[in-house]
């Protein structure tokens, strides 16, 4: 990974201007805007516009089937307080994030450390662990649903050892945990690759210097490697929080949010309310809340990072 370097030729146009045709940089400004304008237009139309629109929609009673679109102020937000399924939904989202984020980060880090030390097998192992990342979420979810059902392969293999497994995805005590496990198994390869890239960036002389000073493996890991990795641990926590919010397809196909609302996370609930109950206004207000939750969590992470992220570039 090459470090991007701003070329001095371009950052100091005044000094070099005499070499170019007059008006070169003025033309560059116009052409530059022209170069980015398709993406800029798309960004305004498909990202900024929708973010503003969702705030506007959230203030309306909007039912697609009934054809209503009436301004009701904060009515949708008040309705959340009386929504009896919402506490379960929030709990499911929190449990999912609490399970997913630490597992994804720590297992990814462990896999990266192991792969980086596995000598000849490193390349092959990196490939193997990355395969689930590229496999479609649909195929991954369906095969796990197939294996985790009552008479599925998992219980089939357990029964060989005389263990009677539960109905993993229908059992209230197991369902959310299994959703976490299936998602983590798919994503480990991704966090592993991030940590592998990070490990490659650590100059080996630092570890060697520590060893010469008499540090053993454990000391080197806790006092040299891990502190140098903290920016990437931070990065992976932020990314994992965001992707824990994005696990829509998996929940849709694995449990449909059940049993009850036990595995219905907020994004899935938004989808249900909007596209199955057609209550777009209420779903929009939930999306607004979700938007702010993501922003607050991300901002909070950045605020906290100074406390524990050791090494800043």
């Amino acid at each position: 990974m090459t470090q991007p370097v701003e070329s001095p030729t371009y950052s100091q146009p005044g000094r070099r201007r005499s070499r170019w045709r007059p008006g070169y940089w003025q033309r560059d400004a116009i052409e530059g805007v022209a170069f980015v304008s398709p993406q800029l237009l798309g960004f305004l139309l498909f990202v900024v516009g929708p973010v503003l629109a969702i705030a506007w929609f959230s203030l309306h009673d909007w039912n697609v089937i009934a054809g209503t679109f009436n301004f009701i102020g904060t009515g949708n937000f008040e309705a959340m307080l009386n929504d009896k399924s919402l506490p379960t939904v929030v709990l499911a989202s929190v449990l999912f994030a609490l399970g997913y984020v630490p597992l994804n980060v720590s297992l990814g880090l462990l896999a990266a450390l192991a792969v980086s030390k596995a000598a000849h097998a490193a390349g092959a192992m990196r490939t193997v662990y990355f395969v689930p990342v590229v496999v479609s979420g649909v195929a991954w979810a369906l095969v796990w649903r197939f294996m985790l059902q009552d008479e599925g392969a998992v219980n089939g293999f357990l029964s060989v050892f005389g263990i009677e497994g539960p109905n993993w995805l229908r059992d209230s005590g197991w369902a959310i945990g299994m959703v976490v496990v299936v998602q983590v198994l798919k994503d480990i390869g991704f966090s592993m690759v991030i940590f592998l890239a990070a490990l490659q960036g650590i100059p080996s002389d630092l570890e060697e210097a520590a060893r010469i000073d008499g540090a053993n493996n454990r000391n080197v890991f806790w006092h040299v490697t891990l502190p140098l990795l903290t920016p990437f641990v931070f990065l992976m926590i932020v990314l994992s929080i965001i992707s824990s919010i994005k696990s829509f397809a998996l929940i849709f196909l694995l449990t449909r949010g059940g049993p009850g609302y036990d595995t219905t996370t907020i994004p899935f609930y938004i989808y249900q309310r909007a596209f199955q109950n057609f209550d777009m206004g209420y779903a929009s207000s939930l999306a607004v809340v979700l938007f702010f939750v993501v922003m607050i969590l991300t901002a909070g992470q950045f605020a906290l990072r100074k406390r524990w992220v050791f090494y800043e570039e």
């Binding site: 070499r19 052409e31 798309g42 689930p132 369906l142 198994l185 991704f190």
Partner: protein, 289 residues
């Protein structure tokens, strides 16, 4: 210096720890690879064998008729083609517009360039699930619901485009600027420099963007679910596969697994051929955040 002997461990011990690590890694890989093995083998099993106790690791006989059923029960060939041409258009569109924007963000000087770039990057923090309702309304206004247009236009110009733009910008920044200076002295226009000097040099980045875009498009689920549901001929593969169900809505597993096998094959082939572009590409996308 005195601790030197402790540092240098005997070579054999180091080799053993390498072997031990490899064994642990292989065991750890079982839950990652077994599901794929199970997916592919179940695609060849008969209905009775699928729920056999104890489970069969290999199919008794290869039931190719599961694959025939994939094409009988739904217009799967059509759906496969839909996925393929939508992914192809996404790749071409993203390559064209992301490289243009990425080049401008890397090399050209226009007012607000850096602010704009950071703003666009922040779009990566907004989950698609938040945007899907207004996007649905917008597509409705444009009359694009029930067509493939949302699936073609949104990835090229929406949130996904930001990743491509970012990767292209970083790569252009890493190229030596002197070559472009030479082109300029020879009288090339900005577009000429981009087209004839920068773009050919950026082939590795273009390959990474192409592959990432293909994977995202090929595996997309929520967008086709929302924008083209209900019309079998319009569906893409990911939304079609869960629809292999019996009259009671229960999945016809062996057919779902056969269709899933067909859907992951192209991806696995591309992955195995091009993994040296794919894995670093993912790493760079991650570090983008």
């Amino acid at each position: 210096m005195k601790s030197e002997p402790q540092v240098m461990r005997p070579r054999s011990r180091r080799r053993w720890s390498g072997i031990a690590l490899t064994v642990i890694l292989i065991i750890g890989a079982i839950p990652l690879l077994f599901p794929l093995w199970w997916l592919v083998t179940s695609a060849f099993k008969g209905l009775n064998e699928i729920f056999q106790y104890p489970p069969h690791l290999f199919p008794d006989e290869l039931k190719w008729e599961n694959f025939a059923k994939v094409f009988e029960l739904q217009p799967f060939a059509r759906q496969f083609l839909n996925s393929l041409y939508i992914a192809a258009l996404n790749v071409i569109g993203t390559l064209v517009f992301s490289s243009l924007a990425g080049y401008a963000f890397a090399r050209m000087r226009f007012p607000g360039r850096n602010v704009l770039f950071v703003l666009m990057l922040s779009a990566l923090l907004v989950p698609l699930e938040v945007l899907i309702i207004p996007l649905y309304a917008l597509m409705g206004e444009l009359g694009w619901l029930g067509t493939h247009l949302p699936l073609i236009v949104l990835p090229v110009f929406g949130v996904d485009a930001v990743i491509g733009t970012f990767l292209m910008r970083q790569y252009f920044l890493s190229l030596p600027v002197e070559l472009e200076d030479a082109g300029r002295i020879d009288g090339l226009s900005r577009f000429g420099i981009f087209r004839h000097i920068a773009l050919p040099l950026a082939r590795p980045a273009l390959a990474t963007v192409a592959i990432l875009t293909f994977l995202t498009s090929w595996n997309a689920f929520l967008e086709p679910l929302v924008f083209v549901s209900g019309v079998p001929d319009l569906l893409t593969v990911p939304v079609a596969i869960p629809l292999y169900a019996d009259a009671y809505g229960f999945p016809v597993w062996e057919v779902q697994m056969a269709a899933s096998t067909l859907s992951i094959l192209p991806v696995l082939i591309v992955f195995i051929i091009a993994q040296r572009y794919i894995i670093p590409g993912f790493a760079r996308v991650g570090i983008a955040g």
